[in-house]
Amino acid sequence: MSLSPAAGPVPAAIGSGGTAGPPRDRRGAGHSPGRLAWLRLRADRTALASGAALVLFLLVALAAPLIELTYGIGPRDQFQDRLDGFGLPLGRAGGVSGEHFFGLEPRLGRDIFIRLVYGLRTSLFVALAAAVLTSVIGVVLGTLAGYLGGWLDAVVTWITDLTLALPFLVVALVLPPMLTLRFYGQRDTVPAAFGVGVLIVIFAVFGWTGTARLIRGQVIALREREFVAAARASGAGPWHMLFRELLPNLRAPILVSFSLTVPQFVTGEAALSFIGVGLTEETPSFGRMIYQSLEYLQTDPAFVLFPGVVIFALVLAVNLFGDALRDALDPKSAG
């Protein structure tokens, strides 16, 4: 992999790292391709901005209980006394005040800000967990299919096609109630974690195909490279081949596909919760909030505004960061 000087905003110190010869470095150590990507990422303003936003989102999600503590309001606390006779929040813009940053929900009178904080937590947890599962399944199947080939490749490809042929919405609509009935009775209360788990499983079952195909293609391309032949000619076993020769070269596509599946699952969770098959009412979720806000679109537009803006900002940040990451890892793919 050679880096042409025009390939990206590489700092001058390493710009000579192409074919001109070893660059200068204080300790004589070279820059690994990973380190070069990091340097490119750091020099990219979009990456910095979207990365900072992502870190902020992550911190908020992680520190949700802390925020609840300092904010002094829980996600289930109701403030009926601040609603008018129609159940609409008193005050401007849906009841925005120093006490309730984003106002109150109509009818139930719950605080929107703290519900968004917890919704972010739910959303990011579901998306990240599903993306991790997706990547693991996709990388394992893709690598095995690409490296071993033969009948295993045929079987994996067949399962991939089968999975792609399954209608996502139908399964997503039918499966959660079925599973809920299977494990809990008609009248039992279903714990929130169960709904979250089912959602993650559905995303993973449908999401792995893209990663698997991508990784399979990469592995097939890498398999023909001469450094793999060199390892084989030296008698390297499959373990060395997979973990020492192939996987280090798959880090970039894995990271990129991971970063592209996360926003997909964020919106997916919101969409499923919106149509009512995702999470239950007690779990704070963007999708549920937007669904409820539809009733009040005319009377209390602020209710749809806040969750809408937050989910938009989150997905945008993840997507922008994913793009920047891809450009940093593979400068040739940039514009």
Partner: protein, 336 residues
């Protein structure tokens, strides 16, 4: 190194009837179709020929990156022909390969020190003084600064990368190295350096070398013996001086005549190759070279010439009408 009793007796490498057919639609591609040759310990053999004549396939067969369709490969008394990974394992270190493309042959994610140490690590060899010291020694030997062991391939030039590839091949102290077009991807100015490095290594380490190249000048510089391949077959094999100064096969003569500016090899300009080599999917009957051979006669289409020694010397030629002299009678153009 294992020095079995079998080693002493015969040559280091003995290839008999080596064949590799690739199954494709429309019948097998006969990439390599019955090669016989030997390489003695410490000897350098050049394998020359046009693109597509099966040189590289032969190289990959020798180090068993490919499994032969037929024939046999014997290395240091061990039959490698269909040996599995477990059987090959103890021999891998003694039989190494240098690749053509210095960009593709080094893992871009590993520092060169780790690349060079890979064969040691894979074969769980702990060299005296440790792997680190061995890597330093190897880097010095191939003319690289040992301080650069933690740099990555992209930080090196093509020639330097090829040196890394050579150091990797030498890590396990092999007895035979197959060099597959080791300089053809390099700038001409760098080629000479790498060729000289290979020559020095051969001299200092007593390596046997199988050099695969289409560059007759490089082969002449490095090899004691030369085998000329055409369409998956050896058409002529012999000592370097015999091949370059007394070529018997018309193809060898044509190849030498095609070298620019080195007219002193063979009768320049007298034999000219026209057209392209026929497809190895459907090689011509009889002598494979007959479709392009100015000396071809009816017999060439019917009977395949065997690789036979002439005058009891080391030179063997697969031709019905060898030699530089004009044919006794007017040659009849073979039916195309």
């Amino acid at each position: 190194m294992t020095d079995g009793p079998a080693d002493e007796a015969g040559p280091l490498l003995r290839v008999r009837g080596l064949t590799k057919h690739f199954p494709v639609r429309g019948g097998p591609v006969r990439a390599v179709d019955g090669l016989d040759f030997e390489v003695r310990a410490g000897e350098t053999l050049g394998l020359v020929g046009e693109s597509g004549c099966g040189k590289s396939t032969t190289g990959r067969l020798l180090v068993r990156l490919l499994e032969p369709t037929g024939g046999s490969i014997e290395f240091a008394g061990h039959d490698l022909t269909h040996a599995g990974r477990r059987h090959l394992r103890p021999l891998r270190g003694q039989l190494q390969i240098i690749f053509q493309d210095p960009y593709a042959s080094l893992n871009p994610r590993h520092p060169v020190g780790r690349i060079i140490a890979m064969p040691l690590r894979v074969n769980r060899i702990d060299p005296p003084g440790g792997t680190r010291a061995r890597v330093r020694e190897l880097m010095e030997r191939v003319g690289l600064n040992p301080e650069h062991h933690n740099r990555y391939p992209h930080e090196f030039s093509g020639g330097q990368r090829q040196r890394v590839g050579i150091a990797r091949a030498l890590a396990t102290e092999p007895r035979l190295v197959v060099a597959d077009e080791p300089v053809s991807a390099l700038d001409v100015s760098i080629q000479a350096q790498v060729v000289n490095l290979l020559r020095r290594l051969h001299r200092d380490l007593g390596l046997a070398l199988v050099l695969i190249s289409h560059d007759l000048a490089v082969v002449r510089h490095l090899c004691q013996r030369v085998a000329v391949m055409y369409l998956g077959r050896i058409v002529e094999i012999g000592d370097r001086d015999d091949i370059y100064h007394r070529p018997q096969h018309p193809y060898t003569r044509a190849l030498l005549a095609a070298v620019p500016h080195v007219g002193q090899f063979g009768p320049a300009g007298r034999l000219r190759l026209t057209g392209e080599a026929p497809t190895p999917l459907d090689p011509p009957s009889g002598c494979r070279f007959r479709t392009r051979c100015p000396r071809a006669r009816e017999r060439c289409a019917v009977e395949e010439p065997a690789l036979v020694r002439r005058d009891g010397g080391g030179q063997a030629t697969a031709c019905h009408f060898p030699g530089p002299d004009p044919l006794p009678a007017e040659p009849v153009r073979a039916m195309a």
